[in-house]
């Protein structure tokens, strides 16, 4: 099979499989991610979404933005649903009733992945289905109006953990789902960001070629929930990487590798200060929270550096 080089000039000639005209908010990170993922794939893809922003905005009544087969069944079960389709594919292929090479990809938000869909995801990964589960993580239940999820970062103001005079936003640290998925000992787990499109698309390509269950967690800025400028999605996802809030790494067959190391690790406030959801943290009485966020990031980054193989080690 001839593979399209991951160069903008060549990629621009490929058909975009999520059409314009969908109803996602302008400046949303999610459709950018979907387009990048589908552009990276050289195979026919069957996709599945859990209930959420992307789902309700991409297929309404008689209209669909998907140029590939796509299914949505409910909020909490995208992994089980696509696992069913993948199993039917194997059944029909075994019997010679289908001959194409088809890939299976989910696009789900953090609520449908970290919280209500977690059991379904964990089960599908354990059973070893040949599928790529992609979580577009915008850090809250944005579709229902910015309620906290277990992906919501510490300190964030949401509609169910509003920053008030007594409670200064979310008091719990976010769940580290990428690590949890790596602990499933599946062949491939990665974190990616649309700001680093080449890194993202390389990871998708790698994941698709690996047989078995794969998981990718992709940061997806949401200007409505993050209270940021509509044109800052890429800037914010880049700052998330450069501050090490969202490190870009992969765990391939148990080996952790950092794929993008920031040239200069920026202070996390560079990422936080552009977002209204963290505005209250900049009040003098909440300075301790900003300090805690930076400490947590530093600690997690150090742990990741320790876990990761360096390029030198890899050469050996």
């Amino acid at each position: 099979m001839e593979t399209t080089p991951l160069r903008l000039k060549e990629l621009s000639k490929k058909e975009v499989l999520l059409t314009a005209g969908h109803r996602m908010c302008s400046g949303c990170g999610a459709p950018i991610i979907v387009k990048m993922v589908l552009l990276a794939s050289e195979y026919p893809v069957v996709a599945c979404s859990s209930t959420g922003c992307l789902e309700v905005s991409s297929c309404i009544s008689l209209l669909t933005a998907w140029k590939i087969p796509w299914i949505h069944s409910a909020f909490e079960n995208a992994a089980a649903t696509i696992a069913g389709t993948e199993t039917m594919y194997r059944a029909l292929k075994k019997q010679g009733r289908i001959d194409k090479e088809i890939k299976f990809i989910t696009f789900c938000g953090d609520g449908g992945t970290y919280d209500i869909g977690f059991q379904s995801l964990s089960g599908a990964m354990e059973r070893g289905h040949d599928m790529l589960y992609i979580c577009y993580d915008n850090g809250a239940y944005m579709n229902t109006g910015i309620q906290r999820s277990s992906a919501t970062p510490y300190g964030a103001d949401t509609t169910t953990c509003p920053a008030g005079s007594v409670v200064p936003g979310k008091l719990q640290k976010r769940k580290d789902l990428t690590k949890i998925m790596a602990a499933h000992n599946i062949p491939y787990v990665a974190q990616a960001s649309p700001s680093h499109w080449l890194d993202l698309m390389k990871k998708v390509r790698k994941a698709i070629e690996i047989k078995g269950p794969k998981f990718m967690n992709i940061i997806a800025p949401c200007n409505r929930g993050w209270r940021s400028m509509t044109n800052d999605a890429i800037l914010l996802s880049r700052l998330a990487v450069e501050t090490c809030y969202w490190p870009l790494y992969e765990v391939e067959h148990g080996i952790t590798k950092i794929t993008v190391t920031p040239k200069e690790k920026k202070p996390v406030i560079d990422f936080l200060k552009l977002q209204g959801r963290f505005k209250h943290l900049f009040a003098p009485e909440n300075e301790w929270m900003l300090k805690k966020i930076q400490e947590d990031i530093d600690k997690d980054w150090e742990l990741l550096l320790k876990a990761a193989v360096t390029e030198k080690e890899e050469e050996k």
Binding site: S61, P69, I71, A74, T81, I82, A91, I102, S120, A124
Partner: protein
């Protein structure tokens, strides 16, 4: 020719599933269904079926996987019981709303609390509004026969709906009875090759399945589901006629037993109908015109046909192995709705029996028929709804 065997209900349904050889089967163990799926898993391990089995982490995922698999474009089966069916609840509506012909034996079990693993009809009755076709089975033979017919009914191109095949937990699922298996090739020819409709795996013709539909079209979508249900009765009867040709066994929308000239009757589902038929015989021997009606197709409910069958009775007891607390039993609600349009209708009473596996004994049927005799004599009844077989 078929084969006479001694088999449990679970064994018989597992055998039907082996003969049907679905493409995908997703299941999760739950008492009393467990041993059905264990048997089917052995067929997979021993290469007796081509089925890809998915041993998922919950019934919710079992039904979700069945939805994904069926939408993919092949034949799909699962099975469950009681709380497992309850956990599937949201997805039951998705399966029927997407018009996916999944077949699911339901080994009827009570619902918690208190926890109870034994048979009653609370599970399937709770799912009666979910848009699934429901076939009910008195014994292992009927469960086996209904399972085979269910695929033809659900997969019919005019129908395309999921089907539940109900059989009583333990009483039928775990009791051995004499029954007949059809030959493998006869079953295979009867169920036919699976025909897919808008399969998701047809990547050349991409489809989006499961859209958001707001008030502009949702109402029409649901009316379409209602309309397809009105076609089910005819298909059930056509399939039954074909089934009679291969098995010699007759099936209808319901079974009537000594009902033609009856003055009193019970309406009762599944295994307890067998016990009640014996007592109907005893009353007949005493010269009392007793009869019985055992529904088979509960969804869609054959209102006109049931009304026609019961219209000449003087009194009828509708017996429910499930309760709608604060309401009448679910079977009573249907039968009384069926009879209401008649100008002249029997007196109707409702008995709740056998919850959580409480035995339905011959004397319970006797008490009920005695009460109906008394009602006919006096023209009066003491109460519409009452529990029987209760330890006071």
């Amino acid at each position: 020719m078929g084969k006479i065997v001694a088999a449990t209900g679970n064994e018989a349904v597992a055998e039907a599933l082996r003969q049907i050889n679905p493409d995908v089967c997703a299941a999760y163990p739950i008492t009393p269904q467990t041993d059905m799926m264990q048997r089917f898993a052995s067929f997979v391990s021993d290469g007796k079926v081509d089925t890809e089995i998915m041993l998922v982490e919950s019934e919710h995922s079992a039904m979700s996987a069945c939805i994904g698999a069926s939408a993919g474009g092949g034949r799909v089966a699962t099975a469950t019981s009681g709380p497992g069916l309850a956990l599937m609840w949201e997805m039951l509506y998705v399966a029927s709303g997407m018009r996916l012909p999944i077949v699911m034996p339901v080994v009827n079990r009570s619902l918690s609390a208190p926890l109870n693993i034994h048979g009653d009809h609370s599970d399937a009755m709770g799912a009666r509004d979910s848009g699934w076709i429901q076939l009910w089975s008195e014994n292992a033979q009927e469960a086996y026969d209904n399972t085979i017919q269910a695929f033809r009914i659900g997969e019919h191109m005019d129908i395309r709906l999921p089907v539940m095949v109900c059989l009583d937990g333990f009483i039928i699922s775990h009791s051995i009875e004499r029954m007949e298996y059809l030959d493998d090739n006869v079953v295979k020819a009867f169920v036919r090759e699976y025909k897919s409709l808008n399969p998701l795996l047809d990547v050349e013709n991409p489809k989006s399945i499961g859209p958001l539909i707001l008030p502009d079209l949702y109402h029409e979508y649901k009316r379409a589901q209602h309309e397809v249900m009105t076609k089910v009765k005819d298909v059930v009867l056509d399939v039954a006629e074909d089934f009679k040709k291969i098995s010699g066994r007759s099936y209808g929308l319901f079974e009537t037993y000594r009902l033609d000239d009856a003055e009193i009757a019970v309406v009762i589902l599944n295994s307890a109908a067998g016990t009640a038929k014996d007592i109907v015989d005893e009353f007949r021997e005493k010269g009392i015109k007793a009869g019985l009606l055992k529904p088979r197709l509960f969804r869609p409910f054959p209102y006109e046909e049931v009304a026609h069958a019961l219209k000449n009775l003087k009194a009828v007891c509708i017996m429910d192995r499930a309760d709608s607390f604060g309401g009448y039993g679910p079977l009573f609600m249907e039968v009384s709705s069926a009879l209401y349009p008649l100008n002249d209708r029997p007196i109707m009473i409702n008995k709740i029996y056998g919850l959580g596996g409480r035995d339905f004994m011959p004397q319970h049927a006797e008490i009920v028929l005695d009460e109906l005799v008394e009602i006919v004599k006096t023209g009066k009844f003491k109460t519409i709804k009452e529990y029987i077989g209760v330890r006071e």
